[in-house]
Structure formats: structure tokens, C-alpha cells
């Protein structure tokens, strides 16, 4: 069944600013927003820039804001949206625009470089391997589902509204740090960095990152809050500080 739909898509101008351009098109059953954007590109706006790769919700390239909600275009089915209304598609607001729906997310890769790398403890076995219980691995396995779509970075108000890109690494990299910090065989200590350079205290646990994560990672509950608790034990809790002195 074909339906008429009106899309308002953000187009950048050479000066760097932008405006919405309206497109009318037909959508058919089973289409996702990325299909519609491609259809518009093919039929009406060949210069429309959009980044995508897998169309399966696994590469994390097609992040955008659909009707104001940060989402993957390839995982947003048209039948979830109301075609009676205009559908807006905008680039992620938290990152600098390149063209149309494409933003420059390279800040994220620079941030990642600033996080201490995985440093395994000495091997448990003579053959150079480790023995780890499955459930201890399961805990960090959740964080490894991240596809680096950066939707959580986009929605996080610390970055989006307050532009604390210099002081706060954002939910994606708190997940990354949690993955390393809670890894059973990692031996490095990232707690001082998390408190100071990574600015974990800026997170006010409002959970928008968790809500938008297409991989359903419990970003706030399983990564950020446990890390915050480790920071509290290290720096703010006098009792654990005294106990550590006796250890």
C-alpha cells in the first residue's frame, strides 16, 4: 500500500547554516526512514548528503534526529511514524555539520584516544591464557554491543546543551571506560581520570542516553552509576579511605 508523506529534511548552506527543505514522496509498506531519504535522494535531490552503511542497525552510521528524537534512520520504520504530519529529519545537533544529514563525529575518536587502553594482568596459565568466569565476562559483554552510533552523545544534555566537550567524555565513552575498568583481566586504573579529565560528575543520571541507545545498553544503570560509585569509594567516602589505609 502506498501512502503520501511529507519530509522536512535539513539542508546545509555553503555558509554552514541550514534550513529545512520539504519533500513530498510516496512510501510503501516495510520502508524505513533511510529508504525514504534514499528515495528522495534518487528522485528529487541527488546532492542530499546522508551517511549510511549497513542498513541493519549495526554500523552506527545513519544516526539522525527524526521528529526531534535521536534515532538510527535505518531502524526507524515508517509505520511507527505518523504520515499525516510532516516528518522532520535533522542531523545530530551535538556535532559540527559537514553537509545536510552528515556531521563530523571525529571528536569522539579523539576522546577515545584519551582513555587508558586495555592492560591485561599477567597470564593465569603457563600457556599465556586467563581463566575467567562467564558471569564476570557477561557484565562487560553488554558494553561491547556498542555500535558507536553516538546517539547517546547527541542526546546527552551535558554535550548538547552545555557543550562540555572539553570536560566530559559523554555516555559512549563512559560505557567504553566501564568495559575496560570492569574487565576481569584488566589491571589498569581509570578511576582518577574518570573523576578529573573524563568529568563523570557532569552526568546527572537523567538517562536520556539509555533511552536512545539502539543496542539497549543500560548505559546509566550498568556503566555510569557503578563507575560513579567507584569514584565515590575512592574519593568521597571517608570510611573506605580509612579501610584502604589498613589494607
Amino acid at each position: 500500500m502506498e501512502t503520501q508523506a511529507t519530509f522536512k529534511i535539513w539542508r546545509t548552506h555553503p555558509g554552514g547554516d541550514g534550513t529545512f527543505q520539504t519533500f513530498k514522496t510516496t512510501v510503501t509498506e516495510g520502508m524505513v526512514v533511510l529508504d525514504v531519504v534514499h528515495k528522495i535522494q534518487a528522485e528529487q535531490a541527488p546532492d542530499l548528503a546522508v551517511r549510511w552503511n549497513c542498513k541493519a542497525g549495526k554500523c552506527g552510521s545513519c544516526s539522525a534526529e527524526i521528529n526531534g528524537n535521536p534515532r538510527l534512520m535505518c531502524m526507524t520504520r515508517m509505520n511507527e511514524l505518523d504520515t499525516w504530519e510532516q516528518i522532520t529529519v535533522e542531523p545530530m545537533r551535538t556535532f559540527p555539520p559537514i553537509k545536510d544529514l552528515v556531521t563530523d563525529v571525529s571528536w569522539n575518536f579523539r576522546v577515545k584516544k584519551g582513555i587508558k587502553k586495555f592492560k591485561p594482568r599477567p597470564a593465569d596459565q603457563p600457556d599465556g591464557t586467563w581463566r575467567v568466569a562467564q558471569r564476570d565476562v557477561d557484565r562487560v559483554q553488554e558494553f561491547r554491543k556498542c555500535i558507536e552510533c553516538f546517539l547517546c552523545q547527541d542526546v546527552c544534555h551535558v554535550l548538547r546543551e552545555h557543550n562540555k566537550h572539553d570536560e566530559f567524555i559523554g555516555p559512549r565513552f563512559l560505557v567504553y571506560a566501564a568495559n575496560l575498568e570492569m574487565n576481569p583481566i584488566d589491571s589498569d586504573d581509570r578511576i582518577p581520570d574518570l573523576k578529573e579529565q573524563h568529568g563523570i560528575g557532569y552526568c546527572n543520571i537523567t538517562k536520556c542516553c539509555t533511552k536512545v541507545c539502539p543496542e539497549h545498553i543500560h548505559i546509566t544503570d550498568n556503566a555510569i552509576i557503578p563507575l560513579k560509585e567507584r569514584v565515590v569509594s575512592r574519593y568521597y567516602d571517608p570510611v573506605t579511605r580509612i579501610l584502604r589505609m589498613f589494607k
Partner: protein, 266 residues
């Protein structure tokens, strides 16, 4: 790491391209929490109708000094001047109140609903300055773990109150075992409060979350699994236990005022 964010339209307060009813949840939370704070403050200042038979309202438990038979040390002591408003609830209520105030779930909820930081996800904020919990004053929220320990003590005391709520005055003097609707109300309240407190993020951290290999500590391993299971429903238990504690007070208050009749089931 300088970043020039995309600027689309105005980015002032409440600016958003969202068209769903994003304001409904924060508004509902605002109304829910304000009503509870309003009612509990009013109830705490009443200093009346907080006990009925073997039941003691959780707002007034433990009753350290007070006029009901539940008081540990009898009536209000002389050293509290008359001009100071007195009620047994005022002595103890700050502890559970601060436990909830510093709870991770409530923090996230009231930062949104009361402080609009942010009003909802991807919605513009009223203020540009932001320090979060990185520095004073909100860094003080990290005191939550101490209030959690106090909350655990309160749980034990409230459980003891449920035990006391099983012993009704016998017609010929003494006490007889029984179960009233009030007993059930108090027991359900303790169960919900336990689910809330034992699923606290601090509890989860302390019982095992702080280890990278919790499986190597068998007791912690079990405790961590239980706390984690409750933690997944922390928001639900935060609301259910808030409701149950308020309802337990209302129930006992209305029974004591003679408006409701407490049914004896056993």
C-alpha cells in the same frame, strides 16, 4: 577538542523538534513528588492520629519520644523547648527523606522535573551554566551511601513494627495474635521498602559490584545477583514504596480518626 555544534533554530528553553508529549512524564513526576512531599510534611507536623491499636504509621516509626504507647522513651522530653514545633515524625523523617533525595533514580527524576536540567530528552534548557554533580553543591549527593545504611536500620525497625502489628489487645487484658488489614498494609509496605532499599545502586556496589570478579566471592556473588535483579526495577520500587508508605500513614490516620474501620482478618 573544540566543537561547533549544529545550530538548528533557537536553542532556548523548551526548544525541540519533538512532537510527542514529552512534557507529560516530567509533569507527572512533578505532581507525584510534590503531592508526596506536601502530604508527608503536613502529616509529620500533625503529631496526632499516627497510631491505631498495634499499628504505628511509618512516618512516625521509630517513635523515640511521643504520646502513643509505641514511644521508646515516653513523652516529649523537657529539654526540647516549647516553642520548637515537636512531633515524633520530625525527629526521624529527615533520614528516609534524605535517603530518597539522594537516590540515583530520584535525582535523575527531579533534576528533570523540578530543575529542568533537561526538561526532557533533546529539549532545550532554561539555563546555560551547568556544573552537574562534578562540584559543590551537587557533589554532596555522594553522601547517599550513608543514608542507605540508615535506611537499612529503618527497615529492621519497620519490620519489628509489623511483628508488633500482629499483637492486638485482648478483651480480658494482655495481647492476642491477630491479623488486620492494617497489618497487611504495614507488611506490604516493608516488603516494597526492602525491594527499593536492597536494589539501591549503592547496595549493588557494596555487596559485589565493586569487584571485577565477583564470582570469586561466593556470598557477594549471590548478594550481587539479588541486588541487581531488584535494581532493574528500582524505579518501579521507588514509586511503589513511596505510595505504600504514604498509604500506610493515611490508613492508620483514617482508622484512628474513626473514618475507616480496620477489618480483623484473623
Amino acid at each position: 577538542m573544540e566543537v561547533v555544534p549544529v545550530t538548528i533554530g533557537s536553542r532556548g528553553f523548551a526548544s525541540t523538534s519533538r512532537r510527542d508529549w514529552w512534557w507529560v512524564t516530567p509533569l507527572a513526576i512533578f505532581i507525584g513528588l510534590s503531592s508526596f512531599v506536601g502530604y508527608s510534611t503536613w502529616a509529620a507536623f500533625q503529631n496526632a492520629h499516627y497510631a491505631f491499636g498495634p499499628y504505628l504509621s511509618p512516618f512516625y516509626a521509630p517513635e523515640i519520644w511521643g504520646d502513643s504507647p509505641h514511644a521508646w522513651f515516653g513523652p516529649k522530653p523537657g529539654f526540647i523547648p516549647d516553642w520548637v514545633p515537636f512531633s515524633p515524625a520530625l525527629l526521624i523523617l529527615p533520614f528516609p527523606a534524605l535517603f530518597r533525595f539522594t537516590c540515583y533514580y530520584y535525582r535523575g527524576a527531579y533534576y528533570k522535573s523540578f530543575w529542568l536540567d533537561p526538561p526532557a530528552c533533546a529539549v532545550g534548557e532554561p539555563r546555560t551554566g551547568y556544573r552537574g554533580e562534578q562540584s559543590f553543591p551537587l557533589v554532596m549527593q555522594n553522601i547517599h551511601r550513608y543514608f542507605m545504611w540508615i535506611a537499612v536500620i529503618f527497615l529492621l525497625l519497620l519490620s519489628y513494627d509489623v511483628w508488633l502489628a500482629l499483637w492486638f489487645p485482648a478483651p480480658g487484658g494482655g495481647e492476642t495474635f491477630g491479623i488486620g488489614v492494617g497489618t497487611i498494609v504495614l507488611a506490604v509496605n516493608v516488603v516494597l521498602l526492602s525491594c527499593y532499599t536492597l536494589g539501591c545502586h549503592v547496595m549493588r556496589h557494596i555487596v559485589g559490584g565493586s569487584y571485577d570478579e565477583v564470582s570469586k566471592h561466593p556470598v557477594c556473588d549471590r548478594a550481587y545477583a539479588c541486588s541487581t535483579a531488584l535494581n532493574y526495577k528500582h524505579q518501579l520500587f521507588a514509586w511503589c514504596s513511596l505510595f505504600s508508605v504514604g498509604f500506610a500513614d493515611i490508613y492508620i490516620r483514617l482508622c484512628s480518626m474513626g473514618i475507616w474501620t480496620d477489618l480483623r482478618l484473623l
